[in-house]
């Protein structure tokens, strides 16, 4: 059991973690999610007593890490796969850690077998690939056979087989009654591994709930509608009809429309009444990745932009975009993966009763989301 209360860490003027409180329970895999630079690693270091919190405290099993009676036998951690002396062989590295913790030396060969490094145990870790380094780091974490395990980005650099192995290892460790706390910036990975999620952005807590609650609270479903591209008038007509009926319409970059707030049959009826032909009418469900993206959108520190090469391009043809349409809100593009963020739900995603099944029909939600509204109300204000 890891318990953080009001954890805050400032480095000079920069606040890395602000007023973070959470509990990590035994028996389940708890995912720790956040964009790059959101304070995940800082939090992990504070849990391990490597950094002192500016305010607040964090305990493991009721004790601060540095006061734990037998720390290496109670807590194992993979912080950084590269945090080994590259000139030392894998076995010597683990042996020195085992000796330091008073763990019998045969345990070293045991964990080398567990992570599959027994064949390269005598090789200097400098020559290890990123994946092998991760395995070595995981071996070090498992060395003390501890009750509490922390993994910072354990699947970085692993091949698919290795990712599957880590996923199953986490689940197995949790099933044995251990506390497993895994940080990642990959929602898709956590969706498969974790049971519970703690999401932070800019050092502040954004969500602390089970994975299923997270999905139901954050998913927003929509319909994709496409009218014949050859007849821009139809599209205009349908847009007007849909908006009149209470739907929200947004343009997608390929010319399709993203409609929320109306069930599929109703869209079809409206199109029929307006005498508009449809080329596409398809239901879409937001993935966990999208939910996560939307949640952390306002909290991304390092945002990539398109490399437009603008000054190198020949002047663009007029009338290339929009088919002469009136300007419509264009769906914001989410960085990194190229997913489109669904519109934010009308209510605070965390205020809603967790565990509740999503509303009857995917598009029947009466709460019409407002496109373009700022992110959920508890998006961190800049803590600096």
């Amino acid at each position: 059991m890891i318990e953080a209360v009001g954890l805050t860490k400032r480095y000079g003027a920069k606040t890395a973690v602000y007023n973070l409180s959470f509990q990590v329970r035994p028996g389940v895999v708890t995912g720790f999610l956040g964009p790059n630079g959101s304070g995940k690693s800082t939090t992990m270091r504070m849990i391990l007593g490597l950094d002192r919190p500016t305010a607040g405290h964090v305990t493991i099993g009721g004790h601060p890490f540095r006061q734990l009676p037998n720390a290496p036998r109670q807590v194992g951690a993979l912080l950084d796969a590269k945090a080994v002396h590259g000139g030392r062989s894998a076995r010597s590295h683990l042996l020195s850690l085992a000796q330091l913790a008073g763990i019998p030396a045969q345990r070293v060969d045991e964990v080398l077998g567990v992570v599959g490094l027994q064949d390269v145990a005598k090789r200097r870790s400098k020559g290890f690939s990123l994946g092998m380094g991760q395995r070595l780091g995981i071996a070090a974490a498992l060395l003390g056979d501890p009750q509490v395990l922390l993994f910072d980005e354990p699947v970085n650099g692993l091949d698919p087989e290795g990712i599957l192995w880590v996923r199953n290892l986490m689940k197995k460790l949790a099933a044995e009654g251990r506390t497993v706390f895994v940080s990642s910036h990959l929602m898709s990975e956590m969706a498969l591994t974790a049971d519970h999620l703690i999401v932070i952005g800019r050092g502040q807590l954004l969500a602390d709930m089970s994975v299923t609650d997270f999905i139901s609270a954050n998913s927003a479903d929509f319909a994709r509608v496409r009218t014949p591209g050859t007849e821009p008038g139809q599209r205009e007509k349908l847009t007007a009809a849909l908006m009149e009926a209470g739907g929200q319409v947004m343009s997608e970059p390929d010319g399709a429309m993203r409609v929320t707030g109306l069930p599929l049959p109703r869209i079809s009826d409206l199109a029929h009444d307006a005498d508009v032909r449809l080329w596409e009418l398809s239901p879409h469900q937001a993935s966990l990745e999208e939910a996560y993206m939307r949640l952390t959108q306002g909290a991304v520190d390092y945002r990539s932009t398109d490399d437009r090469l603008a000054h190198l391009q020949p002047p663009q043809q007029p009338g290339h975009h929009g088919y002469g349409m009136p300007p419509q809100p264009v769906v914001q593009e989410v960085p990194q993966q190229g997913w489109y963020a669904p519109p934010p739900p009308g209510q605070n995603p965390y205020a809603g009763a967790p565990g509740q099944a999503p509303a009857p029909g995917p598009y029947a939600s009466p709460a019409a989301p407002q496109p373009g509204t700022p992110q959920p109300s508890d998006t961190p204000k800049d803590a600096r």
């Binding site: 590295h93 330091l100 251990r178």
Partner: protein, 278 residues
């Protein structure tokens, strides 16, 4: 996807490891540091180069002295050990700094301090293992070199028992203490190249600066530097009478001075390591 655990479920049974739990102590940390120091090549390289320098230079100087017919007076041949000791000290400084700064450089320190949250125990173990290793190696090599020097230079006075002790155990302890000072500095600076540079500057610059203090006004500073610079202290170690200045150190006194300096630096390292974020 796995089913989530109910939010307020009673805490499941906690895991109990079948491996017997034993409280780790300083002995475990010593074993660990010994494994660490012997499993990296930098130890082999620095100590190997150090042994080579002490042997080649120490015996080479003795051979040159033996071939010259100039009388040595009541000086013993053991004093030639200084010429090997000076370059050897650079190797010891490097090893001392690397013992801790390489952990900072690679990030290993975080792994180490996760496996043993007691900073004091880690640093103590490092200091003891490093000291014993350097002290043993340099003492043995100094004894071999000394025996060779005494055998080669037959024009010199034969050294007394206390001369022998200072030229072997004294020299070994002095170099090991200089190494501890480097280890403390490596802990404070946390950067290999930076700490080695500072230590080499500390070793050589005072003497170089003193060489060029021609002004009469700086006479006292020059004299103090000539007396207490590290190379001067090494020479004093071999001498029964103060070789520089009337009240300068001689005999075992340089070792006491270096022990004091290293002790203060180590105390600072302990305090900082304990309170600083890793």
């Amino acid at each position: 996807m796995t089913a989530p655990a109910p939010h307020h479920a009673p805490a499941p049974h906690s895991y109990v490891s079948p491996i017997p739990v034993r409280r780790a102590n300083l002995g475990d940390a010593l074993a660990s540091e010994w494994t660490k120091i012997r499993s990296v090549r930098s130890t082999l390289w620095t100590l190997g180069v150090m042994i080579l320098l002490m042997l080649v230079i120490g015996l080479g100087v003795a051979a040159i002295a033996a071939s010259s017919e100039a009388p040595m007076g009541d000086e013993s041949a053991l004093g030639f050990g200084f010429f090997g000791m000076l370059p050897a000290s650079i190797c010891v400084i490097t090893l001392g700094v690397l013992t801790i700064a390489s952990e900072y450089g690679t990030g290993m320190i975080r792994t180490t301090l996760t496996a043993c949250p007691s900073r004091a125990r880690v640093l103590t173990a490092k200091a003891i293992v490093f000291f014993l290793l350097v002290f043993t190696v340099t003492t043995v090599v100094a004894a071999i070199v000394g025996a060779g020097q005494v055998a080669l230079v037959d024009t010199a006075a034969s050294p007394s028992a206390s001369d022998w002790l200072r030229a072997t155990v004294g020299a070994g302890a002095y170099l090991a203490m200089l190494g501890l000072l480097s280890l403390a500095l490596g802990t404070l600076i946390r950067h290999s190249a930076g700490a080695i540079t500072v230590m080499i500057g500390l070793l050589l610059l005072p003497l170089v600066a003193a060489l060029f203090m021609f002004s009469e006004a700086l006479k006292s500073v020059q004299e103090w530097l000539f007396t207490y610079a590290i190379p001067s202290q090494m020479i004093s170690l071999y001498a029964a009478q103060p070789p520089f200045g009337e009240n300068g150190p001689s005999g075992w006194e340089p070792l006491l001075i270096m022990t004091g300096v290293a002790g203060v630096a180590l105390a600072g390292a302990f305090a900082l390591l304990n309170n600083r974020d890793v």
